[in-house]
Symmetry: C2
Amino acid sequence: MSSGVKTKKTAPKRRRRGPEEARREAVATARALLIASGPKAVTLKAVGAKIGVTHANLIHHFGSAAGLQSALMGSMVRDLTDALAAAVTNLRSDEGAPRALVDEVFEAVDVGGAGRLAAWIALSGDLEHLEPIRAAVQDLVEAVHEKFAEEGEDGRRRITRAILFMALTAFGDSVIGASLRDMLGEGDDAARDIVARWLPSFFY
Amino acid sequence: MSSGVKTKKTAPKRRRRGPEEARREAVATARALLIASGPKAVTLKAVGAKIGVTHANLIHHFGSAAGLQSALMGSMVRDLTDALAAAVTNLRSDEGAPRALVDEVFEAVDVGGAGRLAAWIALSGDLEHLEPIRAAVQDLVEAVHEKFAEEGEDGRRRITRAILFMALTAFGDSVIGASLRDMLGEGDDAARDIVARWLPSFFY
DNA sequence: GCGGCTACCTACATGAATGTAAGTTAGAGC
DNA sequence: GCTCTAACTTACATTCATGTAGGTAGCCGC
């Protein structure tokens, strides 16, 4: 109402972003929606509305709704694998104490909703989207093995079980940890405290 | 095509169940659908088709689609709490070894898709449906405490952490355990082996 | 300035899920 | 056998997510 010079049409004020920035913004918004309101809330219209764009425009950029979801999954899986890789690097740099590793893994699974997304993927049956995580997890096994384990097949086995233990706990904590801790009267850090306390006993 | 005596209309062969049986059958079918194909597959039409009934009939019995989902959640939560209660009873009967407890809890979370359902509930934000589990979990804490722990506030704390550890692992295992174990080359029982191996160290 | 590429838009079509209205018929009780 | 309840049905209406068609307009290179 301020600068409406021409009475018929106010300027549409249509901004034009590059395709790469448009995609990034849409994926980030979709992620926020997923974390805040669950998978069902991630629709083309909802995402478009949040960034001031029509749903048709999102189809233009991603090809389809499934394309957007796939991009979202890819983005979160990439973040998770990056975080795991960083944890591996820290571990190898001779600075990685078990507690630091645990914190990094829990953060990686929790921040950005990676754990919740993984649950969604697993429930929906799109297991192939989980596949890129495989290498990251196996890298983590290698790094821990280099750092802590004695030689031999038995040592390797202990490491994979330690990683399984830590990953399952971090995942569970990110999805229903808040509810469970509340039921038990435990604090926010209870799960990672437990893992940090018992993880070393797998190594030696 | 066999017994079509009257050419105009074959007998509709409409069977009529009592409301309670109709509801039970619908909920059981919905559960099977949820486990097999994920939350998105649980629709009025799909459930109705499986039991030879129209979607309108399901609305007649449950009031709405949300009513059916709510009944489904209630049914699965009830099964889970029953299973936990049975585990508690076994534990108190002086027959409950740690390994048996672990197996029972893992079964309870896994069978009937309770773990996957809990993930769905948590992701959707319907946290109040998780509420009936609270008492069952706290009962479990009591039973374990009676059986294994020494006295004092510290003992209680160790028990709650043991339960948290076991519950998070069982939950995580039921949702992404298959994928994770595959990535790590571990067998089906790896998670419950781990829990059974380390759970006693929480108690003493 | 201006032409073209394409990021955007509006408008419409489609299909699926849910819900409503108005019947039909099965079976229980008299 | 008759009647009445309610478990069923069919035949709508509605809403929403997705997708398509075609036009509009911002920016880059000339």
